[in-house]
Amino acid sequence: MFIDRMVNQGNIPLVERMMKLTAKRHELLAENIANLSTPGYQQKDLDVGAFQQMLRDRAARRRAGSPGTTSFDDLDPASLSVDGSGRGMLFHDRANRSVEALMGDMSGNAMKYNLFVELLRKQYGSFDNVLRERVS
């Protein structure tokens, strides 16, 4: 399929996967914030580095293989192990909560998400130009 080929080349699938990861991470951060006062609650997070490594490996495989045969669709951020260990054991119930760290993580994550949305928008915009047969 032509359209399929078009949306599966370049960095579109990578950006889309990263969008999915940041959206999932936002949900987990939301859960952590909601449970700020829950005794014994273990904070959850995703291993962003591990997911990026998976994407990198897949991109390298795509470069090596024939075009159109490598898909990114099976890389699911939800499959990444949810990391329950926090940054220290300050509280007696071992729930390592820190509003500052959580809010910082959340705004950083939201900024990344918006960046990916913007990148995707630019890519789709260039499709638009192609379809209209004119330069920007």
């Binding site: 959206a23 936002h26 949900e27 987990l28 951060l29 939301a30 859960e31 914030i33 909601a34 449970n35 700020l36 006062s37 829950t38 005794p39 609650y41 509003v99 959580l102 809010m103 959340m106 705004s107 939201a110 998400y113 918006n114 949305v117 913007e118 995707l120 928008r121 789709y124």
Partner: protein
């Protein structure tokens, strides 16, 4: 993304109930009688949070699992002229400590704000996703 709005709402509701409980404690910090007018001081209430949404523990979020009664002993004050004083002249006052309640209120309102900010961020992320279509 819609999920995070639900999660935030559950956090807001839980902190709201906590705030209600705390203000109830503060209001009744000098109450020496129960609703029937008998000399029984008010017992301090506290909320217990648990992960999961109300009625759906498997869904991410938070809910109030229980509102408990604080079993610590009542404060005793020597007021022989008081109507509710015992034979030795001591009046039993509620086991509410104002400073503890204030600290808890501060924490509850900060947690509430954190949930609000999180929901604002979710909304903004959602609207930027919708801009993909336009």
């Amino acid at each position: 993304m819609m999920n995070s709005l639900d999660i935030g709402a559950s956090g807001l509701a839980a902190q709201r109930i906590r705030m209600d409980t705390l203000s109830n404690n503060l209001l009744n910090m000098s109450t020496t009688r129960n609703a029937r007018g008998e000399p029984e001081p008010y017992r301090r209430r506290f909320v217990i949070f648990a992960p999961g949404q109300e009625g759906h523990p498997e869904k991410p979020g938070v809910h109030v699992a229980k509102i408990g009664l604080d079993q610590t002993p009542f404060r005793q004050r020597f007021e022989p002229g008081h109507e509710d004083a015992d034979a030795q002249g001591y009046v039993r006052y509620p086991n509410v400590d104002m400073s503890v309640e204030f600290v808890n209120m501060l924490e509850a309102s900060r947690a509430y704000e954190a949930n609000i900010t999180m929901m604002e961020t979710s909304k903004q992320m959602l609207s930027s996703t919708l801009r993909l279509l336009a």
